[in-house]
Amino acid sequence: MPLELEVSPYHYSQVNRILREAIEKGERELVLRGVNGHRYLLAGVSQSVRVEIYGTPGLDLGAFMRGPEIRVYGNVQDGAGNTMDEGKIIVHGMAGDVVGYAMRGGKIHIYGDVGYRVGIHMKAYMQKIPVIVIGGKAGDFLGEYMAGGVIILLGMNSNYPERPLAGLFLGTGMHGGAIYVRGKVKESQLGAGLKPYPLETEDEKILETHLKDYCEDFGLNLSDVLKEDFLKIIPYTHRPYGKLYAY
């Protein structure tokens, strides 16, 4: 039996303390109900636990975490997966700004739209490759300063049909990793020096692996997702500012 907790009477620090104590005692399944803006849930937790959240978690859900798998039935506020290390965040709704900032491992699956500055400065190292899949659309600065990892933008499950797939400054200053976009983006939306490329076989494999996992999380049909062509945005150099200085 998972630990069920109605969190509405509690401050976030109390909720986190209860969760940590439960995890310390060996609890591995947690269900939180009545979540309403509670910040920092599971921040810094290093155990592999499964958490279901009903409601809207506040700032920095799972920040710095290393291991938990969090499934949110609702939307999430800004900063989900901030500097997260390992684990997974699945959001059956929308997400705010700066999702996965400086994320270094694990996965974030968002069903719907995301805000601004998502996946900024994600980085990969050896076997640790962080992945963000966005089912809806994204605001400006997606993948800015990206140093590694994978961002996949689908633009399918959006609440904003009038908006473009991605905002401006897509991938500005990126020097590692790859951004895959289902559909088209204008070159004018991309950061300076970047270009969209068609996929290669290797990319298709990467996409299929991650999208299969994504579709399983939300009960979607992989073939529907793969119906449309993807394009890829990768850095033109690992040293975007190498020639900036006079010595």
């Binding site: 976030y12 620090s13 986190n16 940590r20 910040r39 920092y40 921040a43 810094g44 290093s46 700032l59 920095d60 920040a63 710095f64 975490m65 290393r66 800004d78 900063g79 901030n82 500097t83 290390d85 700066v98 900032y101 400086a102 270094r104 500055r117 900024i120 400065h121 980085k123 990969a124 190292y125 640790k128 600065f141 800015e144 300063y145 140093a147 590694g148 200053g173 020097h175 590692g176 690992h238 040293r239 975007p240 500012y241 190498g242 020639k243 900036l244 200085y245 006079a246 010595y247």
Partner: protein, 507 residues
């Protein structure tokens, strides 16, 4: 015809070789990482490429027969008060290469140095000075947020605090080591700083480069930094030290981030920063999760939650125009200490324009922040840690008298391990083995040597501080904090004295 490179025509330094002393042992060639000494095989003699000399004095120091003198190059441009060689040569460099001028260390311009316009008091006749050699003298200070008031209760005839105090960090000497990343400086310097901090009872700071595996054992004396690039930042790292410093800015380059060039990202650096070898390590100008004081509060408490309120959170800002108001916001956001780095604060690499022209002197910033926090009734909620141009123990005493709780030293610690201020840290070729991680150059400064020098410096300063306190008739550094009555100005304007809250000498 190749385009002439004007900058290469005019060397800064002149390598003078005393031929009656030179034994052609080629030690100079071995020591010089900039290849300014050349062996002319045909003529079996040594040559100099003066343009390549950066003035680090390594060859001069290590020449076994003392046959080398490094001087300013005697060639001169015609006098011009405005168009000095500095500006002329910088323009040549930029015209040659078309880039941003890059440099190292702190502001080199002769802006008024307020420390040099402040003198200290001493007891004469009416109250006796204290001799620290025969009476207790306390340099201990506590960093962190203090409660509004202490509530004391009596239990079984013994007094105790009613509420537990928030975590505080005990410093045995009010001198900490400033954030300098592993990457900017060598692992050996980090090891020396860490060990010196432990033996001195103070803290060193990882800077933004993560924490090398060999340094986790110094946790109780470590501040780990969380800067915008979030390099090597994971839960174990956050929990490794006693405090986490959110680096918003630094005095040498307020308003911009940092670029560790790919050349400096070696195998070991790559492991600690957790980025691929040879890749640029780019720290964005802002933390992209902090666009306001509210956002800063967001990150402060994210870090506190992630470390279960066991760690203090410092926020480091550079001293800029509105530093007092910013510091007030930082304190209200929940920072246990506000670290202020002034105009003269150093760096391994900064654009020259930023290093020299952006930010305000630390002395004014300390006083302004201290005054503002007192006026708002929140001074007790935080500690002020000041840095940027602290050159001697008297500077430390003055900074504390102006309102700081403690200071950090960076450049002074590096000079202690042999730095000659050649200001070329950004090349990664530091011939003294300080600002480099080249495996061969590293060996020039073993960690034990770094430790000994840094330890000695702070030990010397600590004793000087005790002597100065004693002379003032004070027996505890806490009694000096914000005690501007112990300061007098010499040659400052009324406005400057108002900001510093000091009287003029003679008043």
């Amino acid at each position: 015809m190749a385009t002439p490179q004007f900058a290469s025509f005019y060397p800064d330094f002149y390598i003078e070789r005393l031929w009656d002393r030179c034994i052609k042992c080629k030690r100079c060639i071995k020591e010089c990482t900039y290849e300014a000494h050349i062996w002319e095989a045909k003529k079996k003699t040594l040559l100099e490429d003066h343009v390549k000399c950066v003035g680090c004095h390594r060859c001069e120091a290590f020449c076994p027969t003392k046959a080398i003198i490094i001087k300013r190059h005697p060639a001169q441009f015609r006098e011009h008060a405005l168009w000095t060689p500095w500006f002329i040569k910088n323009i040549y460099k930029q015209a040659d290469q078309g880039g941003v001028l890059l440099t190292s260390t702190g502001c080199m311009l002769p802006f008024k140095n307020y420390f040099d316009h402040l003198v200290l008091d001493a007891c004469q006749v009416t109250n006796p000075p204290i001799d620290p050699l025969r009476e207790p003298m306390e340099l201990r200070t506590y960093i962190g947020s203090k409660p509004e008031a202490l509530e004391i209760e009596e239990v079984d005839g013994r007094f105790r605090l009613k509420k537990k105090l928030p975590p505080l960090i005990k410093l045995e000497v009010p001198i900490m080591f400033a954030g300098m990343s592993y990457g900017a400086i060598s692992l050996h310097v980090h090891q020396g700083l860490a060990k010196a901090a432990r033996d001195l009872g103070t803290l060193y700071n990882t800077g933004e480069g993560g924490l090398h595996a060999s340094l986790y054992e110094y946790g109780a004396n470590t501040v780990v930094q969380c800067a915008s690039g979030r390099f090597g930042l994971h839960v174990d790292y956050l929990k490794a030290g006693v405090a986490i410093e959110i680096k918003i800015g630094q005095g040498a380059k307020p308003g911009i981030g940092g670029h560790l060039p790919g050349e400096k990202v070696t195998e070991e650096i790559s492991k600690t920063r957790m980025i691929p070898v040879g890749s640029d390590a780019l720290s964005p100008a802002p933390h992209h999760d902090i666009y306001s004081i509210e956002d800063l509060r967001g990150l402060i408490f994210a870090l506190k939650e992630a470390t279960e309120y066991q760690k203090l959170v410092f926020v480091k800002i550079s001293a800029v125009h509105n530093v007092a108001a910013i510091a007030s916001g930082v304190v209200r956001a929940g920072a246990d200490a506000v670290v202020i780095d002034g105009l003269k604060g150093g760096t391994g690499a900064a654009p020259t324009m930023f290093r020299d022209y952006i930010g305000i002197p630390i002395e004014l910033a300390i006083s302004a922040v201290d005054k503002r926090l007192r006026a708002e009734g929140i001074r007790h909620r935080t500690s002020i840690i000041a840095s940027g141009g602290i050159r001697c123990s008297a500077d430390v005493v003055k900074a504390i008298a102006l309102g700081a709780d403690a200071v950090s030293i960076g450049t002074a610690a590096l000079i202690a391990v042999g730095c000659t201020m050649c200001q070329r840290c950004y090349t990664g070729k530091c011939p003294w083995g300080i600002a480099t991680n080249n495996p061969e150059l590293l060996k020039r400064l073993p960690p034990e040597v770094a430790y000994e020098k840094i330890y000695n410096l702070v030990k010397g300063w600590a004793h000087e501080i005790k002597e100065m306190l004693g002379a003032m008739g004070i027996n505890s550094i806490e009694s000096l904090k914000g005690n501007r009555d112990k300061l007098r100005a010499v040659g400052l304007t009324k406005e400057e004295m108002e900001i510093l809250e000091v009287k003029h000498a003679g008043e």
